[in-house]
């Protein structure tokens, strides 16, 4: 088990390093950062001044090494736009996004897994059809549209929840639902197929022959097997919640990392964008690592080769 975790951890580090390189190259090679900061109409002299001021005239490798050296020490440089250390800027805004991402994941789990399980236990029944309908429509509806509809329905017409802001838990209900809904189809379908497959397995027949039926059968023999693939997908979905927060945070005016990303992109604030890409990627990698460890903990075939 330790060997497995160590190996996965090492792999995750490697991925993190690759991502940092990719993020750096994307921002520094794909476009001229000095030009982007100066704006389209700036004169060549202004661009050159900016280039010198931010050290963008140094060779790419030196700049990367410099940046990576800072990253290792937790220093992501200074924001061009807010003139504050990027790390503290991100730390200030992280709360909102973490709250939003995890509550969205909770929404996904609470809707998708029971719905998937109900559909699996009654295949081709009206429950199954209904679940399929929910999945298809949730898949088809764009996030921003669903966000606006929810605001109209539950903040304007029936004012149960506030329209926007991030002051209390009530402010997070609608955005969490909107962000969570986008993952429901994938997780629900996977729960359904996983559970159907497990319920048809020989070991379930064995458990039935021992006199386990219904809820007991599900809890004792089916759930752990069926949940294994779902865990991996949930990890990916949680990573997407962080990335997906860009749109949702804008609609509901939540001052989190998503908004910060949007603002820093519009402001050509390269150090901030760079750190955000890196952080989102690390969240992805970390979640996948966590999923791998959880899977190993639940499945002895992974744990004991």
């Amino acid at each position: 088990m330790l060997r497995y975790i160590a190996l996965r951890g090492l792999l995750a580090l490697l991925v993190a390093f690759t991502v940092s390189l990719a993020a750096f190259l994307l921002l520094n090679v794909a476009a001229d950062p000095a030009q982007a900061i100066a704006g389209e109409d700036a004169t060549p002299e202004v661009v050159e001044t900016i280039r010198a001021r931010y050290g963008l005239d140094r060779p790419l490798a030196v700049r990367y090494a410099d940046w990576l050296g800072g990253v290792v020490q937790g220093d992501f440089g200074e924001s061009y736009y807010w003139h504050k250390p990027v790390a503290s800027l991100v730390a200030d805004r992280a709360d909102e996004t973490i709250t939003l991402a995890f509550s969205a994941l909770a929404v996904t789990i609470l809707i998708a897994i029971p719905l998937g399980a109900l559909a699996a236990l009654n295949p081709n029944s009206w429950i199954d059809r209904l679940a399929l309908g929910v999945a298809v429509s949730a898949q088809a509806v764009p996030n921003f549209w669903l966000g606006l509809i929810m605001i109209i329905l539950f903040a304007v017409m029936v004012p149960i929840f506030p329209v926007s802001g991030d002051d209390s838990w009530r402010h997070f209900v609608l955005p969490a639902f909107v962000l969570g809904a986008s993952s429901v189809p994938a997780v629900m379908r996977l729960t359904r197929t996983g559970l159907i497959e497990v319920m048809g397995a020989d070991y379930i027949r064995t458990a039935r022959s021992k006199g386990f039926r219904g809820w007991q059968l599900l809890r004792r023999h089916a759930l752990r097997n069926a949940i294994l693939p779902v865990i991996s997908v949930l990890a990916v979905q949680l990573g997407q919640k962080f990335g997906g927060s860009v749109i949702t945070e804008s609609i509901f005016a939540i001052n989190g990392l998503g908004r910060l990303a949007l603002e820093s992109i519009l402001g050509a604030d390269i150090p901030t964008v760079q750190m955000l890409i890196f952080v989102f990627a690390i969240v992805f990698v970390a979640m996948n690592l966590l999923a791998d460890i959880l899977n190993a903990a639940l499945d002895p075939r992974i744990r004991i080769g």
Binding site: T206, S209, K210, G211, Q216, H221, N225, R301, I304
Partner: protein
């Protein structure tokens, strides 16, 4: 005293293309302590009958019966929860035939064995563990205490099957239904398990229904035998009557198809050729595994200085238990694995010097499982022509001609040329595997348990086919098997493997009638003999 009484059982499956009547008008009864055998080929409805009793039929099945009573209790009268609470487990226990997949992979053996007894409040956790260890010991699992903490994937197929059996016995069922309980097991283990079931039956007056396609095993272990064919019970009677005075034509055909272990072998080593087609000299193969991250390396000696030669035109049977190294040897002879020491020669050339495609033209494999060894997405024509394509041999037309010839040889109708494997029966699939092996016109075939996944009647056809090919094409054949009766049927010579060594080698006649090695003698004694009945066995004991 009647334990089980089923009258006029009908089971219908509703399939997309209409209802399928899988069991028709079956009536069975069983007294306490009695053993009933149900025999029939796959698809005959024998497993369905058992599943109906346990209410384990698939959703699409519907079942009706004039009467279905267990121990005086009318089963259909029980509603779902009442049935679950009373019947499956403590009243009727069932052992399934798929040992590899019938245990839950994510829980320990200990948990799976004890949970039902504990959940029902029959035993406390320590009591249940104690009983589980005792039962594991009784079914012949070594170090039962340690096994309790292990997971199914750490056990071999045979061990898993024994765990299944022990697990079912945890609840002391009044009736045990065993659906092909020993197909995954070696003959010696099979005999041990069947003895155990016999003992339990006597000790506890347990009823036993033994479902099998193996008439020899069933007749030996049961008082009465029921023969099923296409969903109907065609014959029922004492084991003695059914074996020696079969009335129904199907029973007669089934009996004729069984490979016999009595009388002289069919081949008496008549091949006079002496040139060696494939020869292994002092072949050694080790496998190393490590326990934990820093644990000591453990070495398993799978082959320990094995020398074996197959002569032109003969059928050499390699027999032994699972784990004896016979499949490893077969892989090395095929050139699919390299020995750590020693040498394999094909027609006196070291196999290492041959290019894979030349080797493939020379020797071809036929594997055990015809259900998984064919690519389900390719048509027969493509599957059979594949070795030619890989060797870049001939053009489209000549390949097609070769495929058609190979199909004719194995007697597959030409209309199946464009069929997919899923449209074929098990026997037809194994014919496809043989046709694919023949298409390069190899000198030798290496067949690893080619018939163990097939019904007896089909097995007989495949064995006949192999024999015919040997005669007509002068094909050399190495047959890897654990089935003594199959060996008796087709082998010229026999080599017996035990723990990585060849312990005995000789003509089929000599080895079968007068084994010089203890292990061979044990293997022969354990093999079920046709015509032996439960009474004979008891007398022998």
């Amino acid at each position: 005293m009647t334990l089980l009484d089923i009258q006029n059982l009908d089971i219908t499956l509703s399939l997309p293309n209409g209802p399928l009547h899988v069991v028709r008008d079956v009536s069975l009864s069983l007294a306490k302590g009695e053993a009933l055998g149900i025999v029939g080929e796959s698809g005959s409805g024998k497993s369905m009958t058992a599943l109906a009793l346990m209410r384990l039929l698939p959703r699409s099945a519907s079942c009706t019966a004039a009467r279905m009573a267990f121990d005086g209790q009318d089963l259909p009268a029980l509603d779902g929860p009442a049935f679950t609470a009373a019947i499956p487990g403590p009243k009727i226990g069932m052992i399934f035939q798929e040992p590899m997949t019938s245990l839950n992979p994510v829980y320990t053996i200990g948990r799976q064995m004890t949970e039902a007894a504990v959940a029902r409040g029959l035993l406390s956790v320590p009591e249940a563990r104690q009983k589980a260890v005792a039962l594991l010991d009784r079914v012949g699992i070594p170090d039962p205490q340690d096994r309790m903490a292990q997971y199914p994937h750490q056990l071999s197929g045979g061990q898993r099957q024994r765990v299944m059996i022990a697990m079912t016995l945890m609840l002391d069922p009044d009736l045990l239904i065993a659906d092909e309980p020993t197909t995954a097991l070696d003959v010696t283990v099979q005999a041990q398990i069947l003895d155990l079931l016999d003992d339990l039956r006597r000790e506890r007056q347990m009823g036993l229904i033994l479902i099998s396609h193996d008439l020899a095993v069933v007749a030996q272990r049961t008082d009465r035998v029921a023969v099923m064919y296409m969903g109907e019970l065609v014959e029922q009677g004492s084991a003695q009557d059914v074996l020696f005075e079969p009335r129904h034509d199907y029973t007669k055909a089934l009996l004729a198809a069984i490979p016999r272990l009595d009388g002289p072998p069919r081949h008496a080593g008549d091949s006079a050729a002496t040139d060696e087609v494939i020869a292994a000299r002092d072949v050694t193969r080790r496998f190393t595994s490590r326990k934990g991250l820093f644990g000591p390396k453990r070495e398993t000696l799978a082959l320990d200085g094995v020398s074996l030669s197959v002569k032109r035109g003969e059928t050499l049977a390699l027999i032994g238990e699972s784990g004896s190294g016979k499949s490893t040897l077969a892989r090395i002879l095929l050139g699919l694995d390299q020995p750590d020491a020693g040498e394999v020669r094909m027609l006196d050339r070291p196999v290492a010097d041959l290019a894979p495609t030349d080797r493939a033209a020379f020797v071809q494999p036929v594997f055990q499982d015809p259900y998984t060894s064919l690519n389900p997405r390719r048509r027969l024509a493509e599957i059979i022509a594949r070795p030619l394509v890989l060797r870049d041999e001939g053009d489209r037309a000549s390949r097609l001609a070769a495929v058609e010839e190979a199909m004719e040889r194995v007697r597959l109708p030409a209309r199946l040329l464009h069929a997919y494997p899923s449209q074929l029966s098990g026997g037809q699939r194994q014919r496809v595997a043989i046709a694919r092996a023949l298409v390069t016109r190899p000198q030798a075939l290496i067949c690893d348990e080619p018939t163990s996944a097939l019904d007896v009647s089909v097995q007989a056809q495949i064995l006949d086919l192999l024999d015919e090919l040997r005669r007509d094409m002068g094909l050399t054949c190495l047959l890897v098997t654990h089935d003594m009766a199959v060996v008796h049927e087709v082998a010229d010579r026999i080599a017996v493997m035990y723990r990585g060594r060849i312990v005995e080698e000789g003509s089929a006649e000599a080895v079968l009638s007068n084994p010089s090695n203890d292990y061979t003698a044990r293997l022969l004694a354990a093999a079920p003999r046709f015509g032996e009945t439960a009474e004979d066995r008891q007398v022998a004991r």
